[in-house]
Symmetry: D2
Subunit: 360 residues, 4 copies
């Protein structure tokens, strides 16, 4: 995990900026003979796509995915060949406005300052490389990863917005509201709340939950190859994420050993856990129970209210953001979190198969 | 970050089980000419050492570190040579009791089951590789890492135990109590609390906070080389950790964009942040403000109360742990967290120097 | 070095097949602020381009390089930003002939059989991923790498063709003949020889020499980070290469210690080597003398003469190749070898700077 | 492959200098449940051990290997557990002579100068990290690797010494002479030749051949994960190696396409190659035929004849080596080459299993 590549065996490398001609990436190490469904991939893209509802940025991107290598059209459908899969997504709506005004002023809470300090220059157009636009490639890669672990079901939800929690986990309604919210009542509350926030030119944070069921016990590895460690790394790599937890997470720190440890009994298919406080991971290795990860997304710093900042030249200024933006970036982080979960699991499936052979 | 190696340029590889003859590791990629102070390294070891107080496991290990390669005694002291530094720590008190009874039964909340499923066999003596004993090597490696980034001050504290928070951050008293607690009142409360817990054969969770000040702006990188991503990975790799957050972390998800984003003004040495909600990282790159990480440690699952479990053979049993153990493993996780912070920063210092040259 | 990524810090990932819509890659880890000259990059491409003379394959590819990310047009020219550089090269002349005939028969000496055994399927069109077409991306990446080590001069030559050696090393005439031959007399001999070979539908092997001067002493590292080790890896990764040597190479095995070791004396700028049998590398680290690598390129297996083979279905057949091909693939391997040298040196420059700081 | 770690999944990390208390390493990623035979490991060590005959250095090292982690004594013998295997080999005969004289003078052909330039200091005692002593750890790791690919037979031979070739390949006599020579007549010639060389205080180079039979078709991968690429990297990482070739190697560059490409026919177990000019690798992937690698070892630069050199301080001096040394370091490189072959094959076996599943 370094530079712009994620994964040890199933490896995803991305490139591209918000306002260049295209973004894209390479999925390397994918097993051969995996059947890909372009419609499924495009559907995954559509879930993350900007401009889907009034609650996300109004940038209009079709986010049409092209796989330009590593696949072969056969009688059995579109199959991976085992060679690197090139992913291309064109930037369509990069709005050629004048960015010179923000080129030299640092938006508070954004990466403008740190990029400038690190690199001495930056592509300021639309946030450049730090734009969430890069996550489109992750979603495409994640859709391929899902096909590598077909027995695993991955689903994500927004479980908290602006401090208001979703209490239910009704996965069937996730795609029926604009928030990937698993709680009908919460979805209604959030709708009016977010309308307010948007009108005020403000923003709110959120918590996303990703759950993967169907992964066998045995994926992951001790010490520095832990499944939860790579999940933490994966989720923390998403824009605006400030915290990650597995299973009960921080809540576990408030329990006693008696309350926290999941007891076991024999089930019809072998050992079973009676609870899943561990979130499906013990000692860095999957237990067979659903893998559960939650991550905190900060409110986007693109807000209308003027905030104190400085320019590249050292002048003190006030900065406000008037362009299109997401009032709650957490929403579109849901499919991105699902994609990262899929990528981590595909990688660990291959790593486990390498060391211990085929796991039935 | 894979297998038993952590880091991209400053790389730490560890080996060893709880009950083998020794544990150890290799620090690879260390710059040459770094002066090491064996007393300082040993002091770091002593802070993590078991048996220091009645509040930690009574296993007695001197944890004497030997550096068997990669260093040279010179007129200027003990200097690194740039070649791999071999670290050896002997296991002294591995108590040759009969472990056959637990060899085939899975302690709930432990990695017994997952190791067995994954590998088909496991070194069950004292937890084998999943024992926290491995973290001794991290502390030694972390002490070397600190010498690589001498301008950075790293300190850690237990900031919550069993749900009871430390409200103050008085770093001067950290080593005056048995908990690395930065709040005198809390330390008193925890003392009696932990006595109770220990007598009851129970355990409690904790939250650890690590702060690094003095790191310049510019360390880290976008996308999959983010500083906070590697910190999340580093902390989640520590035994029993279930959550990690940067800066305000999950709390940031409950704020508005106005409240959360750190404003900037010009200070005597350039741009300054007026607050540090971001925890010293924006866009994956350090801001120059203190880097702040917190992680949640679950209560150890080694408790006296019998819990339902199964055996390797599929028999349902009750398991309780009567041997020596830590009633709050979070305590000894403090120096481990500091070590991982040092390792991540040393690695990112080198990575940044590689790409952008010497940063004054 | 694994999968389709080369390099540890300056990392090149490539994708694409001979007959897909495009080939491309990502250069990751490039320092920021490096000025790129698109004309220079295109010139490098043109040297490798097929169809330049009658002595190379008649496939016509403009090999126009597009850098779609990681660069910014500024007043100071086109500068790298430190983020991944996306490289796109369209396939233009992929000739839509019927490949079904060779889809199930293994051309002797080609990778058809091994790809099929490994992956269970393969993109047979034009050799798919095993086609030398992939090397176009390396040349583009190499042109970027050269800009990272501007003090280094890299040049390559064909020094042997079909067993006939070039005895002179007149670098000034390299681009004046169709073979990158540094020996005028040899170039004349090779011309008629290759005309014969081509008319006979046969092919010949070759030896390529790459020399890099201007690299400082101190690049490289011991044991598994040796400069010559990475050069061997880099050159052996080029299609059809079967051997690599550094300095005197295999000839050194025939000398005595007295003859082989390069003596030293003080020169105007410090220690100097009186000879360069070592090829600029001792103990895996550059000496400051020119780095010299040679590699052997086998004759292409695409020949008109029928050769015995088998089909995918297990039928014994005779196979001959009638399409366009290179009678001496070694020729176009020269710019590819130069590119790989540049990539290795750029990577080691960054690795050395990481560990030991700026080297003046 | 970087720093002091070799391999992607089966990973070997080494540490230690010639004159420290011990050398050692970590084998990480080894599959669990592999039965290790300590006698076989020690036998492998003994073949490389110094002081075995008058033809190698007279340093006396028992080279006793201890595996201090990652293995478990069971009813089925000593089994790997899947966790890192710690390897410890004590240095016994590091002769406490005064090295101060060579501390500041650069022995021609040695890495003294380059280490000093790179690191600013070096452990000069006995060559420090650049000593061939490090290769003992490789042999131990290689013995473990062999157990990971039990169907593969690896054997090595010295096939040329001081320019005098062994023409036969009688593998049965390899261990009957002091040179691992597969040609009885050559062994006799080399014996008297090497006696002369030793008496003269001179040295000679050599060529080593390593052959692995029994590896299935399908190991390796295209582009930067080529089997032959990793073999080149592995062999070039051995001290004093200056060239590597696969199959016919440089000789292939002198053949026509008709002569070089191996024809195929159906054999009793499927497709077969009628010749093996390719050395068992096509397109970076194993063909099922024996994998054949040769590498050139330069004559050691430790010779009695005075050679011109300089000191650290810039003084011109003459340097000769009077201590114990190998007159032909190529001899002891044979078991090291075998070990590296085993490590590469074990790694690629796991990598192949990861991507394509169990290969029968």
């Amino acid at each position: 995990m370094s530079h712009n590549t994620f994964g040890h065996l199933f490896r995803v490398t991305t490139f591209g900026e918000s306002h260049g001609p295209m973004i894209g990436g390479v999925v390397d190490g994918c097993p051969p003979g995996i059947r890909l469904d372009m419609d499924a991939i495009q559907s995954a893209m559509d879930r993350r796509r900007p401009g889907k509802s009034r609650h996300t940025t109004q940038r209009r991107e079709p986010d049409t995915v092209r796989l330009v290598s590593g696949v072969l059209e056969t009688e059995d459908g579109l199959l991976t060949t085992g060679t690197p899969i090139g992913i291309i997504i064109e930037n369509v709506d990069q709005r050629s406005k004048d960015y010179s005004k923000i080129a030299d002023r640092y938006r508070p809470g954004h990466a403008d300052y740190t990029y400038d300090v690190k690199y001495g220059l930056r592509d300021y157009r639309g946030g450049g490389r730090s734009s969430a636009r890069e996550t489109a490639v992750r979603v495409a890669a994640g859709a391929i990863a899902r096909a590598v672990v077909p027995g695993v079901t991955i689903r994500g939800a927004l479980v908290e917005m602006g401090g208001d929690k979703a209490h239910a986990r009704d996965w069937s309604i996730i795609d029926d509201n604009d928030f990937f919210c698993p709680d009908e009542a919460a979805a209604l509350r959030w709708e009016s709340r977010l309308d307010e926030v948007r009108r005020a030119g403000s923003s709110v944070g959120a918590v996303v939950e990703i759950e993967a069921s169907g992964a066998p016990a045995g994926w992951g590895a001790p010490i520095y190859g832990k499944l939860d460690q790579d999940l933490a790394s994966a989720m923390m790599s998403i824009n605006a994420v400030k915290g990650v937890e597995i299973g009960l997470g921080f809540e576990a720190a408030r329990l006693s050993g008696e309350e926290n440890a999941d007891e076991m009994r024999m089930g019809p298919n072998g050992p079973e856990f009676l609870t899943n406080n561990a979130g499906g991971v013990l000692g860095g290795i999957s237990t067979g129970a659903p893998v559960v990860v939650r991550f905190a997304v900060k409110p986007t710093s693109s807000i209308r209210t003027a905030r104190r900042s400085v320019t590249r030249g050292g002048e003190e200024v006030d900065v406000s953001t008037t362009g299109r933006h997401d009032p709650c970036v957490g929403i579109r982080a849901v499919p991105v979190g699902e994609a990262m979960m899929a990528i981590v699991l595909a990688d660990h499936h291959l790593r486990d198969r390498a060391q211990t052979g085929e796991r039935s």
